[in-house]
Amino acid sequence: MLNRMIALGLLLGMALSPVSVWAQSAPVLKSVSVNLPIGDRMFSDGANTDAINNNCVACHSADMVLNQPPFPKAVWEAEVHKMINVYKAPIDEADVAPIVAYLVQTKGENRSMQRGRSRCIAAVCRRQP
């Protein structure tokens, strides 16, 4: 009887997806307490660092910005306004211009970058006619 029940259970298990693994033991879950790194690097190199440091690193570390490619000013303006309007970053309107200025100065799209981009697009075109 017991065997028949186990066989029935196995059959039912096999008919269902994902695979039933009643027989397999689950790990015993243990409480966790950890420390997550804060990322205390600040924006440096240039004017307007106060504006960006005072407003931007409360919600995210600076590396997010520093790892972005160069973008035109319009893209940086849109990003700052997205942070304010969508993600509710409490940024003073007076600080918006200096923040954008910093981003354009350190991550703006200058002529050499434009050339770099054209080269990359050409490379893609060559590879994929």
Binding site: L16, S17, P18, V19, S20, V21, W22, Q24, A26, P27, L29, K30, S31, V32, S33, V34, N35, L36, P37, I38, G39, D40, R41, M42, N53, V57, A58, C59, H60, S61, D63, M64, L66, N67, Q68, P69, P70, F71, V75, E79, V86, Y87, K88, A89, P90, M113, G116, R117, C120, I121, A123, V124, R127, Q128
Partner: protein, 418 residues
Amino acid sequence: MFDPQGVAATRRRFLGQISFAGLAITATPAWAEKMVKLPLPDGPEERPLTTDFPQKGPMILQRTRPPLLETPFEVFDRGVFTPNDQFYVRWHWAAIPNAVDVETFRLTVRGHVDKTLSLSLNDIVNGLPRVELAAVNQCSGNSRGYFLPRVAGAQWSNGAMGNAKWMGVRLKDVLDRAGVKAVAVQVRFNGLDEPVVDGAPDFMKSLDIDHARDGEVMIAYAMNGQQLPLVNGFPLRLVVPGWYSTYWVKMLSDIEVLAQPDDNFWMKTAYTIPDTPHANITPGQTGVKMVPINRMVPRSFLTNIKAGASVRAGSPTLARGIAFGGDTGVAKIDFSADGGKTWQPAKLGKDEGKYGFRQWETHFTITKKGSHSLMVRCTNSDGTAQPDTPSWNASGFMRNVVEATPVRCHGLRRADRC
């Protein structure tokens, strides 16, 4: 609000730490970090390889807070299951509880149900049928750094993905226990993470009721036989096989059955794609209908030969990699050693389940000196193959173009080395 884990306290403590960090001068010197190079067009290419995160091994640091950690690509050559300590990490908001007590944690099931549930981990692990499934978890924006023109966001290379064997319970079984009312249209999922600033949209995602009850969507309490690392969603994570990771809500604590479609920011505005083939538009194109991102598409990668490598002329060279079919299994893998002019079928490795990675391998021989392009293409069980040209959209989602790896062959003279 019910707050067994002290999330509010965590958030206050966290904000306190920030103001402290702003004053402290304790930045790690750059020379102390090992750097990796990601070949992103226009750069920046360098990222630190970090071991600073709890329960994690070496990870590519895209952002410290909230964490964006990428899996170093060589990990994918070691097998189809991505180790937990190198599984990629992606959070939206920085108020993440740094402690979870397994005794007091509760998963709430509420909304349009017959009976509101408050389930302990013991109720879930020992009170419901246990299931296991291999599935790829991939960020919607995996490989965003290769979009041209570039788009803002996490500048991932190809390592915002991983495959694990997930163990847990069926979402269907949990919903059945609560009793879903006939008016239900969607189910919304929320985790313990919270926005740092008041009024910002809490991260929540929803699935249609039929999808939520398909018997495949899971609530996982283990990955690869172990409890989840905290930054991968301990203690519970939603697993949505074949769908992008945005739906795989981490630290899942609240399930709400809705009687109307969810219009929260993370469903209606964020994580939407153009309703066009391959989610492709022309840069600058406007007026396109947008829909929530959903099923994954096939991808494949070469994992044992790096870009710029030299290969031996005239003798067979092993090419090996991984592939996944997206929302279904891998049907075949084709390989090209001549930039896509000719293709040869690759041999597929063990099938661990249609939603997981599948290893592939083949041998190729190059005889001509010069530059060559190695390509790999996955066709899934529905007959969908990776496209030859990259698509583009403003969010940098769903890249799945056939990948090309440039290699060099210098000629036959010098001891037959290329």
